[in-house]
């Protein structure tokens, strides 16, 4: 959607600006922040320094410095192959960078395995949804709960040691399922659900972990428009509950609608950041998406070049 990139539709920001207290707070936090790559945020929850990941000769990710503001919704956009998902994998411990450090809540996360990253409060979802097909929706949810006594081998044999906790977790899962309108599917296998419902389940399951920061990798990919609205509302509600959201997305309308701040990646680097209205008009961003000379007439030698 090239048109969306180049012309900022004034109607859209207006609709979203009439926001909630959390949204206003997030917006205010960004008031004094300079819209340049690597700018410092007033209260960063995630600080990334010099993270590089190479696959052979290809440098997939080469991020010099990035900060993510606590309590905000930050979008990570960029053309295909920009390294967004790889960057996600690195931050959440699913891949290891060649060099680089990053901290979450002030504590270093470099070299921390993925399950410990999740326990520290940074939980991710996946671009290709990972619903656990042959587990029921409720079992999927319960799996998310942390610190379960019954997940210890010896205690597992004695149900009385974990039954009370399981009951409490089930109640919490029930509430989340109602909120995500999945409660009717509670006892169905997750594999029987539609793609959109799986996305909802994955998000709800991530919330069972009780995260401080939620990393959503293309939450809207392959979801029909009706469900997109519902997903958008859910993402916004995460911020209302005080969580920080970092998400990868391609749909510009959605990015503009819900994000407080936008990071743009291209060829592994963060090439721009800023508030969504501003980023849509950013020269570097348009170049990254459309190519450097998209609005210039072709040069003679380019026209003569064999196809």
């Amino acid at each position: 959607m090239p048109a969306d990139l180049t012309k900022a539709d004034p109607a859209v920001p207006d609709r979203t600006k009439a926001g909630t207290p959390r949204k206003d707070a997030a917006r205010q936090a960004f008031a004094g922040v300079e819209a340049v790559p690597g700018s410092a945020k007033p209260d960063p929850i995630l600080v990334v320094d010099g993270v590089t990941r190479r696959f052979g000769g290809l440098t997939a990710v080469d991020v010099a410095h990035v900060e993510v503001q606590r309590g905000s919704i930050t979008a990570l956009i960029g053309p295909n192959g920009a390294g967004k998902s790889t960057f996600f994998n690195l931050l959440t411990g699913f891949d290891k960078p060649d060099v680089g450090t990053w901290t979450f809540n002030g504590a270093s996360l470099s070299g921390v395995p993925s399950h410990k990253v999740a326990r520290r409060g940074m939980v991710r979802t996946f671009q290709l949804t990972k619903a656990l097909s042959r587990l029921t929706v409720m079992q999927n949810m319960l799996l998310g709960a942390t610190g379960q006594k019954g997940e210890n081998f010896l205690r597992a044999i004695f149900p009385m040691t974990w039954r009370a906790q399981e009951k409490a977790n089930t109640l919490r899962a029930e509430e989340l399922l109602v909120r995500f309108r999945l409660d009717a599917k509670r006892n169905d296998f997750a594999g029987t659900m539609s793609g959109g419902q799986r996305k909802l389940l994955e998000m709800a399951r991530a919330l069972m972990v009780g995260p401080e920061m939620v990393m959503l990798d293309e939450p809207m990919a392959g979801v029909n428009p009706a469900l997109t609205q519902s997903l958008l509302t859910h993402v916004k509600s995460l911020r209302e509950e005080g969580m920080t959201v970092l998400f990868v997305e391609h749909d510009m309308d959605m990015v503009r609608d819900i994000s407080d701040w936008v990071l743009v990646m291209a060829q592994g680097k963060v090439i721009a950041e800023g508030p969504p209205e501003q980023i849509m008009a950013n020269e570097a961003v348009i170049d990254a998406y459309l190519g450097g000379h998209h609005d210039a007439p072709l040069q003679d030698e380019e026209q003569a070049a064999p196809r």
Binding site: S133, L143, P159
Partner: protein, 330 residues
């Protein structure tokens, strides 16, 4: 043809030593493959390590039966850790390769001439089961029910064996309905998702490998005591593949699946064997069609055919749930 003999043999096979041994091996494999999705192609190695651990420590070093059992169990745990530690971080197929190779290594080591002093080489090791039979509380005599008829030694072996099968099933039942079992099943579905929810997938896979290995090692003890000898070729890859067949036949990830599978597998083998032999002896089958030597091969073919039909018409196994199979796993 003597049909009553055919059926009483089939019944004896249903509760017999082989069924017990393979039920135990398959219960362990079901924990690996059915619940956790681990491709362990070396279940025979766990049986071998347990059987030989018991036999060598009792026969060569004069340990008591109890100590021999502890040594066998320890051997199985160590083997599981050795196999799992380097491979469980990698993709599923690496475990398959390593386990199938390890099982052959274990068998060949026990078979080797240079260790024959301890292992008895290809003849195997005996002289270890007196301890087991000396604690037999069952009085000398014959015991049976209907056509079943066992002496006191067989009755003792089968009682211990079926008790172990029962306890193993109870353990698996308790574990798999707990949050611990839920994590294993989730790992089978998608381990990255489980990791992203804060579970140490590697550690759970290792626990699963050890648990299934220990259950398999009970099968090793039973085959050792039941046959009063351990022979390396009883622990060939065939053993593992029979156990896989049994798991799938009974229905993977079902508590009683391996037990039902093992019983039916051995009943089928007994039936085909007895029917073919009797038909041959009664002259219903001429030598032009089937010679006496070919009966053994043909019965396996028939069992294979039966299994194929089962997989076509009941792919979820006997106790499986068709709804689960209809879902695209992953």
């Amino acid at each position: 043809m003597d049909w009553s003999l055919i059926f009483s043999n089939a019944l004896a096979a249903m509760v017999g030593l082989e069924t017990v041994v393979f039920a135990l091996a398959a219960i362990g494999l079901n924990v690996h493959f059915g619940y956790t999705g681990l491709l362990n192609f070396g279940q025979a190695a766990f049986l071998a390590v347990a059987g030989y651990g018991l036999a060598i420590s009792v026969a060569n070093f004069g340990f008591s039966t109890g100590a021999g059992v502890v040594i066998g169990l320890t051997g199985a745990v160590v083997l599981a850790l050795l196999l799992g530690a380097p491979t469980l971080r990698l993709r599923a197929d690496y475990l398959a390769i390593v386990t199938i190779a390890a099982a052959e290594i274990v068998r060949l080591v026990f078979r080797s001439v240079s260790l024959a002093e301890y292992t008895g080489g290809s003849d195997g090791q005996g002289r270890f089961s007196e301890g087991f039979y000396s604690i037999n509380p069952i009085a000398i005599g014959r015991y049976g029910l209907g056509p079943l008829d066992f002496d006191e030694r067989q009755t003792w072996v089968l009682s211990v064996g079926w008790t172990l099968v029962g306890l193993s099933c109870l353990l698996v039942f308790l574990l798999m309905r707990s949050p611990w079992g839920r994590v294993l099943k989730a790992i089978r579905e998608d381990e990255d998702a489980v990791r992203s929810l804060g579970k140490n997938v590697y550690f759970y896979k290792l626990q699963s490998l050890v648990l299934g290995g220990v259950l398999g090692c009970l099968a090793g003890f039973m085959t050792a005591w039941g046959n009063t000898v351990v022979q390396p070729d009883n622990f060939s890859t065939e053993t593992t593949f029979y156990a896989y067949t049994i798991v799938i036949l009974g229905g993977a990830a079902r508590v009683l699946g391996p037990v039902v599978g093992a019983a039916i597998f051995w009943v089928l083998l007994s039936l085909t064997d007895n029917i073919l032999n009797q038909a041959k002896n009664a002259g219903y089958i001429s030598d032009a069609i089937l010679t006496g030597f070919q009966v053994g091969q043909v019965r396996l073919m028939l069992v294979g055919l039966g299994l194929m039909l089962l997989m076509i018409f009941r792919p979820q196994g006997l106790l499986g749930d068709r709804r689960e199979l209809a879902l695209d796993a992953r």
